[in-house]
């Protein structure tokens, strides 16, 4: 429906090469956050940035725009749900909010690690979704 923005082979080729790498790198940042720099926020921001780059360079038709917005909302809600769910699960099992050793794993150390991974993943999902939603609300052509 929408005409494609003026295409440029340089930006299109570079973006097509870069976007998969960026998404892989975002996953690396989320998974590696406890050992180096990075974590959920940075990983989520880079993941959303890769999708935003795709939208800027290749353009979106109406269907893709709708899908981007619903993806943003779903990711943000899923992230908050994951974060709050882990926190409340700890409370339900007798700990305080986000007290990871209370999680139902055999070893408290394992529970601690997996709890932090869950939290980081939740933060990453929420950040990616919120950034995507903000971008679509500012730059999208839908008015609702």
């Amino acid at each position: 429906m929408k005409v494609r923005p003026s295409s440029n082979p340089v930006t299109e080729t570079v973006s097509a090469l870069l976007i998969p790498f960026m998404q892989l790198y975002a996953l690396y940042l989320v998974a590696h956050g406890d050992l180096g720099p990075g974590g959920g926020f940075q990983g989520g921001a880079i993941f959303a940035a890769s999708l935003i780059l795709r939208a800027i360079v290749f353009g979106l038709d109406a269907e893709e725009e709708r899908r981007y917005e619903s993806l943003g909302g779903s990711l943000a809600a899923a992230g908050v749900l994951l974060y709050g769910g882990i926190g409340l699960l700890c409370m339900a099992r007798g700990g305080s909010f986000l007290e990871y050793p209370a999680l139902p794993f055999a070893d408290p150390k394992t529970a601690y690690h997996l709890g932090i991974y869950g939290i980081e993943t939740g933060v990453g999902l929420a950040v990616a979704g919120a950034m995507l939603l903000l971008f679509m609300k500012i730059a999208g052509s839908r008015d609702d």
Partner: protein, 85 residues
């Protein structure tokens, strides 16, 4: 050796900042900001070697990716007058 290289990069970044402030055209400024980002990536990698903390390379990669997107977005804005996709 890495310290000297880092100092040279800082000097080059300062010169780039002069170009970004003086202009004269908007494309000079965009290019200056882009070069500044590239200098930042090189500087981060060098600082990682100086302090022997290889994790700085991760930050450098992150910065390189974000910098590229900002330039593309700004040029698209210049070309079309708005950011509507």
């Amino acid at each position: 050796m890495f310290e000297a290289a880092a100092l040279a990069v800082i000097l080059a970044a300062a010169l780039t900042l002069v170009r970004a402030l003086k202009g004269p055209g908007v494309y000079d400024r965009i290019l200056a900001v882009n070069v500044m980002g590239t200098k930042t990536v090189a500087l981060l990698a060098l600082i990682g070697f100086v302090y022997e903390r290889p994790h700085f390379l991760d930050i450098a990669i992150t910065y390189a990716l974000i910098n590229f997107i900002a330039t593309i977005a700004f040029l698209r804005y210049r070309e079309r007058g708005d950011l509507r996709i």
